[in-house]
Amino acid sequence: MRFMVIRRADEETEAGVLPSTELLAAMGRYNEELVKAGVMLAGEGLHPSSKGALLHFDGTGRTTVIDGPFAEAKELVAGFSILRADSLEDVVEWVKKWPVEDAHGNVEIEIRQVQEEEDFGAALTDENRTYTADLNKHT
């Protein structure tokens, strides 16, 4: 099973406060532990929403583009990683070790299960499965 671990944004990340050497080192140590355990598959940090955009599709073919920033800091994403583990509980245990250097120990992390091919059932046909296989091969 794969899980997405989402580090929620806060006022500092949204203000563009960059991590200190101390925090970068602590995250590096934490990520190294995850990689050595064979748990970590990917991980990235995101710039503040001021550098981003929102697309709204109205359902009738019209699209609206809104430039960032977006107001609700706590509902935004500041970074994520993808972990492989046997259960949600295992991921919870890993996340509990999150470096206290991050946001002075006041941080919110969301864990979400990633969909696998077999979850799509009969809707995944031989035809559309080739797209998935092709995607996995090239990315």
Binding site: A42, G52, A53, N128, L135, T139
Partner: protein, 140 residues
């Protein structure tokens, strides 16, 4: 430049409604276009938040709350990681996401940090460590 593009949840995705064969085919075709253009780096869909959890740290102490979480519109249902030349190019690609007729869809585009964005705080030793870790995850 890399961008993370997040498709937001709605009642359908949070209700565990899985995509139809038609939707999977349309999305597959779109993703294949992104792959052929050398734009797509990764892409995943997420199960509803009812299968997830949240961990809130207060002064270093974790509190675990099981899903589901109420605010469906602020949750993520899936994401793409893309490599393009500008935010404008990211927007142009993402305007073509196949959306279901009659269903409103919100998509958020966010720029991904690169090692150089962290400046001097990211010491040569730390950059080297990151490079090693990235290599190790690719070898899986």
């Amino acid at each position: 430049m890399r961008f993370m593009v997040m498709i937001k949840s709605d009642e359908r995705t949070e209700g565990g409604v899985m995509p139809t064969e038609e939707e999977l085919t349309a999305m597959g075709r779109y993703n294949e276009e992104l792959v052929k253009a050398g734009v797509l780096l990764a892409g995943e869909g997420l199960h509803p938040s009812s299968k997830g959890a949240r961990i809130t740290f207060t002064d270093g102490k974790p509190t675990v709350i099981d899903g589901p979480f109420a605010e469906a519109k602020e949750l993520i249902a899936g994401f793409w990681l893309i490599d393009v030349k500008s935010k404008e190019e990211a927007i142009e690609w993402m305007k073509r996401i196949p959306c279901t007729d009659g269903v409103e869809t919100n998509v958020e585009i966010r720029q991904v940090f690169e090692a150089e964005d962290f400046g001097d705080a990211y010491t040569p030793e730390l950059r080297e460590q990151e490079a090693h870790l990235r290599l190790a995850t690719k070898q899986d």
